[in-house]
Symmetry: C2
């Protein structure tokens, strides 16, 4: 018989399944997985296919990463901190409060060892991961009453998950775990006082502004959260090199493109929310400073308990300092000047 042509050996037909942590209704973040699938399929003429399943189709959204670990699926699209209860070091590949913006997170991930550090940790969970999306700095959530001082945080029942919940707990709040669909009725009834979700585009769909009008920023617990693709390590290792390289390239393109999508959609959504009554508020310095200190307390506790957390967290610190020094020069002053012009109302016209 004729030997198979070389091509068939180095680019075999592969069909994988991906469990997303997100519902289809969160089109931007869910769309990262379908975009990966499409890019892969197009670039291999259909040889390498990934079928995407939304949250709940194969496993619940919060179990997507575990399903990749145990081989139920070959891959997951999720956010590492969903698994923080299993092991807090999972959060390091997603976001830690008061670390990076999307810009600096990307630099740390791709050029500062971030991807390698995370994958070193993930080996024990039989996973390898690459960034696959970012939302930019998230908003700080919706509040039924204004938050003017730390005393307004005391006893505040806020829907917030994971490590960020631990930080707010230290500040006196009472974190609540609620699925997305339960948030609106809980806010409406006053069972909870506040809820954080994502940013204007995603938040608008759930209508929180109608029942908790104060929209605070910044979401200091998510300055630049990375959404990640997780691959079962055994399955990854079986891939030919050509697919490994292609998959990494596709992940990076998806990562970049999700941020661009959010950045295009959020500004319009924010204007619409304000038009419908959302009241924009900035957390004041007292709140942010207390939150920063509470975060550092959490980091100290987690670092004492978990070597992988400590290693990854400390790898971020030197670059974090350098970045926010550098950021004070060209980028920040350019942005500041442009925002002043925006406030002067001259940016939308061709002659200011």
């Amino acid at each position: 018989a004729l030997a198979a042509p070389a091509i068939a050996q180095d680019m075999p037909n592969i069909n994988w399944r991906l469990a997303s942590s997100f519902p289809i209704s969160l089109d931007t973040i869910y769309g990262g997985a379908t975009e990966l699938s499409q890019r892969l399929q197009e670039a291999t003429d259909g040889r390498f296919r990934i079928q995407v399943f939304s949250a709940g189709e194969i496993v619940p959204g919060l179990d997507a990463i575990n399903a990749a670990t145990d081989g139920t699926v070959e891959c997951a699209h999720s956010v590492g901190y969903y698994n923080w209860g299993k092991d807090p070091a999972f959060a390091c590949g997603a976001d830690l409060p008061f670390t990076f913006s999307a810009r600096s997170k990307n630099a740390y991930n791709y050029q500062g060892g971030g991807i390698e550090n995370y994958n070193e940790f993930l080996e024990k969970y039989n996973l390898i991961s690459f960034p696959g999306g970012n939302t930019g700095t998230q908003m700080g959530g919706w509040y039924r009453k204004e938050i003017n001082s730390l005393s307004d945080i005391q006893g505040l029942k806020i829907r917030i998950a994971g490590l960020a919940g631990r930080v707010l707990e230290k500040m006196g709040a009472v974190p609540q775990q609620l699925a997305g669909g339960d948030i609106y009725p809980s806010l409406e009834r006053g069972t909870i006082d506040a809820a954080e979700w994502v940013g204007p585009y995603d938040d608008a769909k759930l209508g929180f502004h109608k029942v908790a009008p104060y929209y605070y920023y910044p979401g200091f617990w998510e300055g630049g959260p990375t959404v990640s693709f997780f691959f079962n390590k055994g399955k990854w290792d079986e891939l030919p090199d050509v697919y490994k390289s292609l998959l990494k390239t596709c992940c990076q393109a998806v990562d970049s493109n999700m941020l661009a999508k959010y950045d295009m959609k959020n500004p319009t959504a924010l204007k619409e929310l304000v038009g419908e009554g959302a009241q924009l508020r900035s957390f004041n310095e007292e709140i942010l400073t207390a939150a920063y200190q509470a975060s550092n307390e959490v980091y100290a506790e987690l670092s004492a308990q978990n070597e992988s957390f400590k290693t990854q967290y400390e790898a971020m610190l030197a670059f974090r300092d350098d970045w926010y020094l550098y950021q004070q020069t060209a980028e920040y002053t350019f942005d500041t000047f442009m925002m002043i012009q925006q406030r002067n109302g001259v940016l939308a016209q061709s002659e200011g």
Copy 2:
């Protein structure tokens, strides 16, 4: 005879040549082309190869785009504004003064019609282009004396190219065209008073701080300059769909990765420059406001003369306004708080 396997038809062997506008010494920006070549080669197991030639190897750096137009090479890696003298609308795909940061430029490019708008224009030059890198907001250059008011700009001989030169000319400066290697001796002799180049990492290599110590920011003419891949349109059209899709994915990954590289390298380089005597200075509001007005005058002139310029420029304005409104919320306040902590000296340690 046996028919060629289907695979050989949809993934043929292709060898292209790419003319870079950059010397190998500018490793980050030049490296965008070699990275594209490597990603492509790996993802096709060597079937689709692009051989990269540095500035001057096939054509002078400033002629790279034209070499792709006329088919001397299949592709170029360059910055659109290098061709602004031929047609000012070339600059729209690179950067225009006071338009976007890298973040917002990416949103405009990938999700706001930027790539499509640029390619509509490029058709008459037999080109199709995709973003292939970004430097982030550049620095405003090196000055032998401080620039404290508009009067200090009068008669200032500054090495600056293209559209930005036209803006500075309106402000009273005398723009000079000089190749990279001629800048240092001209600054040293005082033949010129100032020179702009890129940012800390690239600038440090040329040692400008030794002869023109005042290092100003921001480079308002390059808030988020896109470096681009340009493909000969006829050659592009001949590619099978599988390669077109792959090439676009690779370009976007390279685009994202170049910014990450600059963002990782620039902070360290800036610290070293300051350690060697560079004096950091911010352009004051008088200068920036005059520059913004001069830019708008240039835009009005170019829009009156060039329909393609006008169309692209005006396509940017609505999103520019929305972006810098949105930017005032979560992202800016997060960054501001982090910069305050940086100044307080607590970011490099695990416990602030």
